[in-house]
């Protein structure tokens, strides 16, 4: 079986700081992978390597079994990776349509944009997928007036619009109301139902357990444990997490040489 995306022995350091060391990570076809780990464990660095924002210091990246070198965000987006960031990666003063098409404006080979079409598609997405019904919101509305959930909706719809088949969600429930969180969890179920893959990062182990096929735990820049949700109960998973937090390993033994910087 070829993985949809695979990292082999990937390390990343920022100057003196070793953010990731020797990480192997895979996302299968139509698989939802939950990524757990403490603040600073390296989750964000890992996803930013998956989506081309950071280039690994060493290691290899494969898409559908083929190695891709010099991955950039543009390249990753063309390969079907879209990211919904914790901070949502929106431009608050700009209009809704500009945010939907941020970085991937519909344009001809000379770079001239099809503004009409972008507004039309935004209008369609607004009414069909984002549930904006109020006439006060148009494709021309600047998004600084939107609520947290609405902004999250913009970031998600943007990921879907480009027909991404690997959707990375970085702490997507942060700052959402209970109702909005439930909507988001349903949305992740929807990703799997549609035959796509996802990487789901969240602090909340309950959210991750309820949507993921597989959970990968990152600790101090390494993969500390990997579990299929079908093979482990929530209680067991929580115990493993405590163990990892204390010892750096899911087996209760300290991983050799894990002292960092």
């Amino acid at each position: 079986m070829t993985y949809r995306i695979e990292l082999k022995n990937v390390s990343k350091s920022f100057g003196e700081v070793q953010a990731l060391s020797g990480v192997d990570f895979q996302v299968g076809q139509n698989e939802v992978v939950g990524l757990l780990g403490d603040n600073g464990a390296g989750k964000s660095t890992l996803i930013k390597i998956l989506n081309g924002f950071h280039q690994p210091t060493s290691g290899e990246i494969y898409f559908n079994g083929k190695q891709v070198r010099n991955l950039t965000v543009q390249k990753a987006r063309r390969l079907g990776v879209e990211t919904v960031y914790q901070e949502r990666a929106l431009a608050e003063l700009q209009t809704l349509w500009r945010n939907i098409f941020l970085g991937r404006e519909l344009s001809n080979p000379l770079g001239f944009m099809d503004v009409r079409r972008m507004k039309a598609e935004t209008h369609y997405l607004m009414t069909q997928s984002m549930g904006f019904t109020s006439s006060a919101v148009t494709p021309e509305s600047p998004i600084q007036t939107f609520s947290g959930g609405e902004k999250q909706g913009v970031a998600i719809v943007r990921a879907l619009y480009f027909d991404a088949d690997i959707i990375i969600l970085d702490e997507p429930t942060m700052g959402l109301s209970l109702k909005e969180t439930r909507k988001l969890i349903n949305f992740v179920h929807g990703i799997r139902a549609a035959g796509k893959s996802a990487v789901f990062i969240d602090h909340n182990i309950f959210h991750v357990y309820s949507v993921a096929d597989r959970v990968v735990v990152i600790d101090r820049g390494r993969v500390a444990g990997e579990f299929r949700c079908a093979d482990i109960t929530l209680d067991e998973l929580m115990n493993k997490m405590y163990q990892i937090a204390e010892t750096g390993s899911a087996d209760g033994e300290t991983i050799e040489g894990d002292s960092l910087g």
């Binding site: 081309g52 924002f53 950039t72 965000v73 543009q74 990753a76 987006r77 990211t83 960031y85 901070e87 949502r88 990666a89 929106l90 431009a91 608050e92 003063l93 700009q94 500009r98 098409f101 941020l102 970085g103 991937r104 404006e105 344009s107 770079g111 001239f112 944009m113 503004v115 009409r116 079409r117 507004k119 039309a120 598609e121 935004t122 209008h123 369609y124 997405l125 069909q128 997928s129 006439s135 148009t138 494709p139 021309e140 600047p142 600084q144 007036t145 879907l160 619009y161 027909d163 929807g190 549609a194 796509k196």
Partner: protein, 336 residues
């Protein structure tokens, strides 16, 4: 999940006109238009002989383009969250390139291209300093302003030079001739630069990226926009257009002064900010700058025509600039 194929069938979206929405999304432009008409009314009422005759408007169209042309790419730079203080020196270094290549080749066309290339290079260099070395553009362009002015003085040995040879060439009527003996060509060039910048900013990906990096650079980079490249292009654009404005202004007097561009700095910047472009980046319009430039350009003549002494000019500039940017700031907050 919306597949692309479904999306192809989307009906064109027709925005329904709403006066409130129009006012909200064009607040800055309506604001500056209001200021413009208010001032114009004051001018006409106080000095009807001057402001009801076409002569004064032909005079405006002949002198305002020299700095208004540069205000256009400068607007783009400010929207991108950057500042450029070096363009006045780039005007002059472009002309040094012009004269050196003319001396060497005797070709006006090559000289003109050399001026543009010199400006492009100087702007590109600003961009590289800002992007590669991470120097804030306000600081970097103070440095290059001095550097290029210094280069002008060294290369020209501080001497003025007649451009009579260029005055007899075809370039002169093309840049600063008078259509039908009255209408100044530089106004046509201002309109061309204005329209081209507007198209670039509003209809081209480049312009979309300018707004995005000025608004939230981090988001733009997370979504794959090469912010550094956009910045370098923005500074290059300011450079090439400034050199062009330098040629136009020098052709007008068919004379080269090493101090070319001095005195344009604050007028050009004032046009941009008067027009409602935010110093914080992310918002701004070309139409606003266009109107702003005409307000700035008209105040001097108006002060004198109204019967005040020239001493009043700067005071009135100051009042109008402060009042206008206050209005813009208020509009931005209340039209959210």
């Amino acid at each position: 999940m919306s597949a692309m194929s479904e999306i192809e069938a989307v009906q064109p979206y027709e925005e329904q006109f709403s006066l409130a929405r129009f006012a909200r999304s064009n607040g800055a432009q309506l604001g500056i238009l209001g200021v413009f008409f208010l001032l114009w009314t004051i001018f006409i009422v106080s000095a009807p002989e001057t402001f009801l005759s076409p002569q004064i408007y032909l005079a405006f169209m002949s002198t305002i383009p020299f700095f208004a042309i540069m205000a256009m790419p400068l607007t783009v730079a400010v929207i991108a969250g950057e500042m450029d203080l070096s363009f006045t020196s780039i005007m002059a270094i472009g002309m040094v390139g012009f004269m050196m290549v003319h001396d060497a080749t005797n070709s006006i066309l090559l000289a003109f291209l050399a001026a543009l290339l010199t400006g492009l290079f100087a702007g590109f260099l600003n961009g590289v300093i800002v992007v590669q070395f991470g120097i804030p553009s306000l600081v970097a362009t103070i440095g290059t302003q001095f550097f290029w002015r210094g280069a002008v003085l060294v290369l020209s040995e501080g001497k003025n030079g007649s451009l009579l040879y260029a005055g007899e060439s075809l370039l002169h009527p093309i840049l600063v001739g008078k259509i039908g003996g009255v209408f100044p060509m530089q106004m046509i060039w201002l309109v061309i630069v204005t329209v081209a910048t507007w198209v670039l900013l509003n209809k081209h990906r480049f312009g979309a990226h300018v707004y995005l990096i000025g608004d939230n650079e981090k988001s733009a980079r997370l979504m794959g926009i090469n912010a550094g490249r956009v910045r370098i292009l923005v500074f290059s654009l300011v450079g090439i257009v400034s050199a062009f404005a330098g040629v136009v202004a020098s052709m007008y007097v068919t004379y080269f002064w090493p101090s070319l561009g001095d005195g344009y700095l604050l007028r050009t910047l004032a046009s941009v900010f008067l027009g409602g472009t935010s110093v914080f980046g992310g918002t701004g319009t070309i139409l606003g700058t266009f109107i702003g430039a005409f307000i700035i350009g008209a105040i001097e003549a108006a002060t004198v025509a109204i019967g005040l002494t020239g001493f009043w000019t700067q005071l009135i500039y100051g009042l109008i600039i402060v009042a206008s940017v206050t209005m813009h700031s208020y509009l931005r907050r209340s039209l959210k």
